[in-house]
């Protein structure tokens, strides 16, 4: 049973409650269902709502997004328009009014499509905790989590150059549905061939993953349907798909190359 809900007004104050075992809560979309069903394992909640962590700043091609920023504020931010199509594939507008950027890093797959985007963007997480502050690549946070008592205060990412951002999410429904396969990528081409690429996948492993095998295969090659399909098949090596209520591991692996191709080549 919940004994206290703290509403600290600074990151420092959050750190104090977090160090005492308080459960960090962004929008509540993950924590509150557990509270409501009696499955919460901690007795104190620490809300980030008043901690001043909801700001979004974009300066010199770099975005700093507060961990407590609701997904809807990212969706509506004019300088983050490249992320808008991705955000509109996440849950529903009502949930996006609550769910936060920081929270999205920690939701279980097949949810967490913004985290997939941030992985493709090679974003950095600003983390605070009992031992002070540190900056960690989002890849590391996604792979290994953060230490007890720590919490993410912001994510920082360079904006992708025009024409280099790719996103595609396969879902069972057209709106408000979890990922079957999510593909996000920053890929540069010159003279028709790939000069650099980062591809992140969602829905196909317990955590968002980099499709390094596909990245390797795409380098110096054109983004043609054939090459992309080959890359998608190679990407299976980077995944560990699972069964859930939405799709089987077999299905996810089977359609991964199709959706990787579609992410770049459209239909």
């Amino acid at each position: 049973m919940i004994q206290a809900v703290h509403l600290p007004e600074s990151a420092e104050a959050v750190a104090v409650h977090s160090a005492r075992g308080g459960w960090i809560m962004g929008g509540g979309t993950v924590v509150m269902p557990l509270v409501n069903s009696g499955a919460a394992t901690r007795s104190e909640l620490v809300s980030l709502r008043r901690a001043g962590l909801a700001g979004i700043e974009v300066r010199d091609g770099v975005a700093r997004i507060g961990a407590a920023a609701p997904l809807s504020s990212v969706e509506e931010h004019p300088e983050l328009a490249f992320l808008r199509p991705a955000l509109r594939t996440i849950a529903s507008p009502t949930i996006r009014n609550l769910a936060t950027v920081g929270g999205n890093l920690f939701v279980e797959q097949p949810y967490g499509d913004l985290a997939v985007c941030l992985l493709a963007l090679d974003a950095t997480c600003e983390i605070a905790g009992p031992a002070g502050r540190r900056d960690v690549p989002v890849a590391e946070v996604l792979a290994s989590g953060i230490a007890e008592g720590e919490f993410v205060t912001a994510v920082v990412t360079a904006l992708p150059e025009p024409g280099t951002w790719y996103y595609h999410k396969a879902m069972r429904r057209k709106l408000n549905s979890a990922s079957i396969v999510t593909v996000a990528s920053v890929t540069r081409t010159a003279d028709g061939v790939v000069t650099s690429t980062r591809i992140a996948l969602g829905g196909v492993a317990p955590r968002p993953v980099r499709a390094v095998s596909a990245e390797r295969l795409l380098r110096d090659r054109p983004l043609s349907p054939e090459v992309l399909t080959e890359a998608g098949e190679a990407a299976r090596a980077d995944t560990a798909p699972f069964d859930d209520a939405y799709a089987s591991a077999w299905y996810r692996a089977r359609v991964l190359p199709v959706h990787l191709r579609r992410a770049f080549a459209g239909r």
């Binding site: 049973m1 919940i2 409501n36 069903s37 009696g38 499955a39």
Partner: protein, 461 residues
């Protein structure tokens, strides 16, 4: 006022109708709409009596297991927990809801006694001052299980040596007047298979489906000054719930009063009598109002779904498309208990062989027990999955014969005066006309002879 209407085509059967009405057939605004759009419609959970207690269930974590022991110590220590009910507190713990129409045997405990037969089966009910305390209490009940082999497939359940699911039936099927299934025997199908130009046999299957009303199943029971209980419920059937509840409580029927009638969707899911009896026992024992309402997980996984079915259809078909024999073997997965499935299985049998006149019909419809959440009624009970199988079969037969699928249906459609497989003479039929009209809507050309067919005559066949 704006509203959308599906048009009514009054030309077919024009001679059989009268239209001299003032209110019937005209659009009248729903009497409940204003309440709905203002939020003033009162659903059962909008009742908030003072001193309300909350009931949450501790449920089986196993598919099939013997209960070696239940430890309530930790649960009772949770602040706010008032009482924990076990099977010993339920006056008539063993029941079956259709006993009201003569179905036997009683086969399901309100709260588990020495065994659980499906995942999520209720074991004990924690009553507390707050929902959070009831949840915490329910989480702290400790049950010591001895696992038993479980069976989940209907045909495996009927096979030799399968684990016995429900001792009260003694076999893994419901027995219909001494028979292992509900049967239809009409004509001689084996002879038809011998005479047929083609014999087609295929198999169909479905998985369980949830009614998924937006309002979950629940009730609020309020003890009254005169010693009676007032039950605010979202049951689909007030007296059915009242009568069953009184039998389980062992009290006179007039000790209970049900107030309901405004329900946030049912679709068959609120015909079971599950929440009211145990909430009533809790209210009687505490002499306080008690609320027992399913959470969404319980509604999705513990409340009875539409049964999974497996259906084999074997048809004897002539070159011209006449189906002269149909043999149907149907397995309905009742889950661990009967509930309404014996009824649904009979309804399925009566529905065979679909809306067609077939002179030789054989159907065996099995109500099978497995270690699955008990299934029960849902919109189209006993028919929906059968229609999937029957109408897929019709399409396959048509394709196998290279026939127009609508012409195949029109050729075999039942008409007024036909004797159905269950030996009732058909009347008021209209299959021919709905098929003709659908063809017209989508521009599917039918030959003149098929356009002239009618449900009222067999002319042209």
């Amino acid at each position: 006022m704006t509203y959308r209407l599906a048009p009514i085509d009054k030309s077919p059967f024009a001679a059989e109708r009268e239209d001299d009405f003032t209110v019937i057939g005209s659009v009248v605004q729903r009497s409940d709409a204003r309440g709905h759009v203002t939020g003033r419609t009162e659903f059962f959970e909008d009742v908030a009596p003072p001193g309300l207690l909350h009931l949450k269930m501790h449920r089986s974590a196993r598919h099939h297991a013997r209960i070696r022991g239940v430890d309530l110590t930790e649960a009772l220590a949770v602040p706010g927990v008032v009482r924990i009910l076990t099977h010993a507190d339920i006056p008539n713990n063993l029941y079956t809801p259709l006993k009201l129409i003569g179905v036997e045997p009683d086969d399901e405990p309100i709260l588990a006694v020495d065994k659980v037969r499906y995942l999520g089966e209720p074991i004990c009910a924690v009553v507390a001052e707050s929902e959070a305390a009831a949840l915490e209490g329910a989480a702290r009940v400790r049950v010591d299980y001895e696992d038993l082999p479980a069976v989940f497939d209907v045909e495996e359940a009927l096979a030799e040596g399968a684990p016995l699911v429900n001792e009260y039936h003694g076999r893994n099927f419901f027995t219909y007047e001494g028979h292992h299934c509900r049967r239809i025997r009409f004509g001689d199908v084996e002879k038809a298979f011998g005479q047929a130009d083609h014999v087609f046999e295929w198999r169909y299957e479905s998985a369980p489906i949830e009614q998924a009303p937006t309002e979950t199943t629940g009730c609020v029971v309020i003890p009254q000054a005169d010693g009676r209980l007032r039950i605010h419920s979202d049951t689909q059937a007030c007296f059915f719930t009242l009568d069953n509840t009184a039998l389980i409580l062992g009290v006179p029927f007039n000790k209970l009063r049900i107030v309901g009638g405004t329900v946030g969707g049912g679709f068959g899911g609120k015909v079971d009598v599950i929440v009211e009896p145990v909430a009533c026992v809790a209210a009687m024992m505490t002499d306080r109002p008690v609320k027992f309402v399913y959470n969404r997980y319980e509604e999705m996984q513990v409340s009875s779904p539409r049964a999974a079915e497996r259906i084999y259809i074997k048809d004897a078909v002539m070159n011209d498309g006449r189906i002269i024999g149909r043999k149907v073997t149907l397995y309905v997965d009742s889950g661990a208990y009967a509930r309404h499935t014996p009824y649904g299985t009979t309804k399925a049998a009566a529905h065979m062989p679909g809306p067609y006149s077939i002179p030789n019909v054989w159907a065996d419809c099995h109500c099978v027990f497995t270690n699955r959440t008990p299934s029960s009624a849902m919109r189209g009970f006993g028919v929906t999955i059968g229609d999937f199988a029957l109408e897929s079969q019709m399409d396959r037969v048509a394709r196998a014969l290279s026939m127009d699928p609508l012409q195949l249906r029109l050729l075999n459609a039942y008409r007024d005066g036909d004797l159905k497989a269950h030996r009732k003479v058909a009347e008021g039929t209209a299959l021919v006309e709905v098929v003709q009209k659908a063809a017209e809507m989508v521009g599917h050309e039918l030959p003149e002879a098929y356009r002239r067919m009618s449900s009222t005559t067999r002319e042209g066949l």
